[in-house]
Symmetry: C2
Subunit: 359 residues, 2 copies
DNA sequence: CGGTGTCATCGAATCGATTTGACCATGCCG
DNA sequence: CGGCATGGTCAAATCGATTCGATGACACCG
C-alpha cells in the first residue's frame, strides 16, 4: 500500500468536489468527447480550488500504453558526443521534429560497459521507440538489448537492421566527389585521415589487415568512396572526430612520415574537425594552404575560427537528417510503415584546396 | 477498454504459466523479498518461454509514483545550446551522475514560444525533478510552469529560487581575478565583451541604461566582478557565446571604434568562445598578441584550434558543476535536503595576456 | 505435544488515469 | 402521443505492476 500518502490531488478528488463522475472530469481535461461548457467550467473550478494541475502523466501513460518518450542512443559519453558539431546538429533537428508531436527525447549513453553490459536505461527506461543515431556495429549490444525488449528502432547512418528504417547520407558518393576534386586539381599523392574504425580506439597509420576491420559507419562508406577514385598513399586512423586528433595525424603525415619531396600534396579527412586539425598542423609546419598542401573535409560545418581559411568540404544536410530520423520515429509510433532514406550530399569548394604544387 | 489488445506478455501471464501468484512473480523480478531459488527459476523459465523481458516500466512507475526521469531544461534550441562547449561539459557530468542512480535525462527546450507559452513537455512530461541548467530570469515562464505542477527544481547558475537548491560558480570573484591580472600587467584601457543580458538578443555597445537590464546570470555576476576592479572603457553586448560574435565585437572595438592611439590594450570577455573570437579578430587586424593587445577569457576550455595561442582564462570545474547539479537532483528525489553550493574558479594564465604596450 | 517463530507464498488493495458501452433525459418527427 | 435520435453523464473495466498483511507449513523449544 502507498507508504507515502501523497496528498497530491487526483482526478477522482477533483470530480468529487465538482460533483461529477471521474469519467466526466477526465473528459473535461482531455478535451475530446461531448461535454457542456458549464460542466467543464465546474470541473476546472474544482481543479483550481484543489490545486490540481492536470492529469498525472504516469497514469495517463499506463492507460494509453505510450510514454511519449523517444530514447536517443548517443554513441559515447555525452561529453564526447556533443563536442562533435555534427552530432549536435542532427540532435537539434531530431528534438525539433519530435517536439511538434509532443514527444520528448531521453538521452541514453550508448557507451559499452564491457562484456555486453549496457546502460541500465536501455533495459528499463520507458520509451516508445529508440533512435540509434550513430549507426550500429555488428553484434551491437545496444541494439540487442532494445530488440530483446522489442522496442522499435530507427537507425541512423550505417548498417541496415532488419525491420528498422534507416536514415543515411550518400557518404560514399560524397567522399568520391571530394577526391575527384583533388585529382582534378592534379594531386596524386593523397593522404587520408579517417574516423574511428569501430570497437577499440586506435590512432596511427593503417595497414591492410587493420583496413579490413572498418566496422563502424560512416567510416567504412567514406573509405570506400575515396577508393572508388584513388588509393591513398597512407591512411591514418584517429580515435575520435576532434581537432586535436586531426592535428596530430597531419603533423605526422606532413612532417616526419616521409622526406619532404615525397610529402603528400593533399589530405582528405573523413570529417571537417579532422580536416581543421590538418589545416592547423600545416600552418604550424610553415606550409602554405593551398599552395603547398590542399585539405578537404567532410560535413560542411561552419568553422569561423579557421579564418581566414574556408574549408573545402562535402556538405551534408545534418539538421535535415535529424528531422528525418524523428519523422521515422513518429511513423513507427503511429504504426505507419516508415521508409528508409538516403540524403544527398555535395562538394562545396573553399580556399583550402588548389592546384597541386609543380613539384 | 484496450483498443489494441497488445499481445505483449504481462507479469500476470508469466505468473499463471509458472503456477505462482502475481506477487511471487513480482518478487522474483524485483529481487527484494524472500524467495526460494527454485521458485525464482520457475518464474524466469516461464518468462523466457513467453518472451517476457521484465516488468513494464509504465506499470512500475505508476505504482512507485516515480518516473526515474530528470527533466533538463536547456535554455535554447539544442542546436544552439550544444554548440557551446560549456553547456556540453556540464551536461556530461550531469548525465554521468544521474546514470549511476539509474535516472534518465529528458531534454527539454527552454525556448520561449512567446506570450508565456512554454514547451509542452514542461507541462505534461513525467519527471521527478527538473534541472534548470542555465539559470532563471525574473518571472521565468519555465520556472512558473514547473512550480505550478509542483515539480521540484534544481537551479544552476543564477538567481536563487525559494526552496530550490542552487549550484553556482564563483563568477564574480573569478571575473575580478582576471581583471586584476590585466591591471597587474599595466593595462588601463580594458574593454569588455559580454554574454547576453537576458530577454531580447542584442549586439553592440552598451550604455548605462542597458547596463541596468542585465538580468541573466552569469552575465550579471561577471560584470559585477569586473567592476569590482576597474571600469571598462567599453562594454560590448553579444547575442550568444559564439566565436563569431566575439570576433565581430572585437573587430569593432579594436578597429573602428576609436583612433588607434586610444585603442584598448586589453579585452576581457565573459566566455572563452567570445575571447577566442577576439583573438581571431586581432590576428585579422594584424595586431600581435599579447604585444599589441591582451585577451582574457572565462571558462577554461581547451581550444586546440586557437593554436599557437593559449588563452588566458578563468578555469571553472564544469563537469563538476554538472555532477553537483545531478547530486542535488538525486537528493531532492530521495527526500533529502540538498544544499546549495558555490564552486571555486581560478585564473590560468596562457599566452594571450602580457604587459601593456609602452604606449 | 502445544506454543512460538521463521519463512515462502498468496490475495487484495492500490497507484491515477482513459475509454467503452449503458443509461437517461430531452427534443423532434410523424 | 409513441418512437427514435441525439447528446451529456456515469459506472465499471482496464492498463501492469508493487506491496502490505495474512496464511499456512514447518522446525524448534520447553
Amino acid at each position: 500500500m502507498g507508504r507515502t500518502p501523497s496528498n497530491r490531488p487526483t482526478l477522482a478528488r477533483v470530480a468529487e468536489r465538482a460533483g461529477v463522475s471521474v469519467s466526466t472530469a477526465s473528459l473535461a481535461f482531455s478535451g475530446s468527447g461531448p461535454i457542456t461548457p458549464e460542466t467543464r467550467d465546474k470541473v476546472f473550478a474544482a481543479a483550481t480550488d484543489l490545486g490540481y494541475t492536470g492529469p498525472n502523466p504516469l497514469g495517463r501513460q499506463l492507460r494509453r500504453g505510450r510514454s511519449g518518450i523517444v530514447g536517443v542512443v548517443i554513441g559515447d559519453h555525452p561529453g564526447r558526443a556533443f563536442r562533435d558539431p555534427v552530432a549536435v546538429q542532427v540532435l537539434d533537428g531530431l528534438v525539433d521534429v519530435l517536439g511538434t508531436e509532443g514527444l520528448g527525447v531521453l538521452l541514453i549513453p550508448g557507451v559499452d560497459l564491457g562484456e555486453d553490459t549496457v546502460d541500465p536505461l536501455l533495459e528499463t527506461a520507458a520509451m516508445d521507440v529508440a533512435v540509434l543515431v550513430w549507426g550500429v556495429l555488428t553484434d551491437d549490444p545496444t541494439l540487442a538489448a532494445l530488440q530483446r525488449r522489442s522496442v522499435p528502432v530507427v537507425v541512423g547512418e550505417g548498417r541496415a537492421v532488419e525491420g528498422s528504417p534507416l536514415v543515411e547520407l550518400e557518404d560514399r558518393a560524397g567522399a568520391a566527389e571530394a577526391v575527384r576534386h583533388l585529382v582534378g586539381l592534379g594531386h596524386t599523392r593523397i593522404a587520408e585521415i579517417s574516423l574511428p574504425f569501430g570497437r577499440g580506439e586506435r590512432s596511427g597509420p593503417v595497414d591492410a589487415e587493420r583496413l579490413a576491420c572498418a566496422d563502424r559507419t560512416p567510416t567504412a562508406h567514406r573509405m570506400a568512396g575515396i577508393r572508388d577514385v584513388v588509393d591513398p598513399v597512407i591512411t591514418w586512423e584517429t580515435p575520435a572526430s576532434l581537432v586535436e586528433h586531426g592535428r596530430d595525424a597531419a603533423t605526422e603525415i606532413l612532417g616526419t612520415w616521409v622526406p619532404a619531396d615525397e610529402r603528400p600534396t593533399a589530405i582528405v579527412a573523413h570529417s571537417d574537425l579532422l580536416a581543421a586539425g590538418a589545416v592547423i598542423a600545416a600552418r604550424e609546419l610553415g606550409l602554405r594552404i593551398p599552395e603547398d598542401v590542399s585539405v578537404a573535409g567532410f560535413d560542411g560545418l561552419d568553422l569561423p575560427w579557421l579564418s581566414p581559411d574556408v574549408l573545402t568540404s562535402v556538405h551534408q544536410p545534418l539538421r535535415d537528417k535529424g528531422m528525418k530520423l524523428g519523422q521515422a520515429a513518429i511513423d513507427l509510433i503511429a504504426g505507419r510503415e516508415p521508409t528508409s532514406v538516403s540524403l544527398p550530399v555535395g562538394l562545396v569548394p573553399g580556399t583550402t584546396t588548389g592546384p597541386a604544387p609543380a613539384r
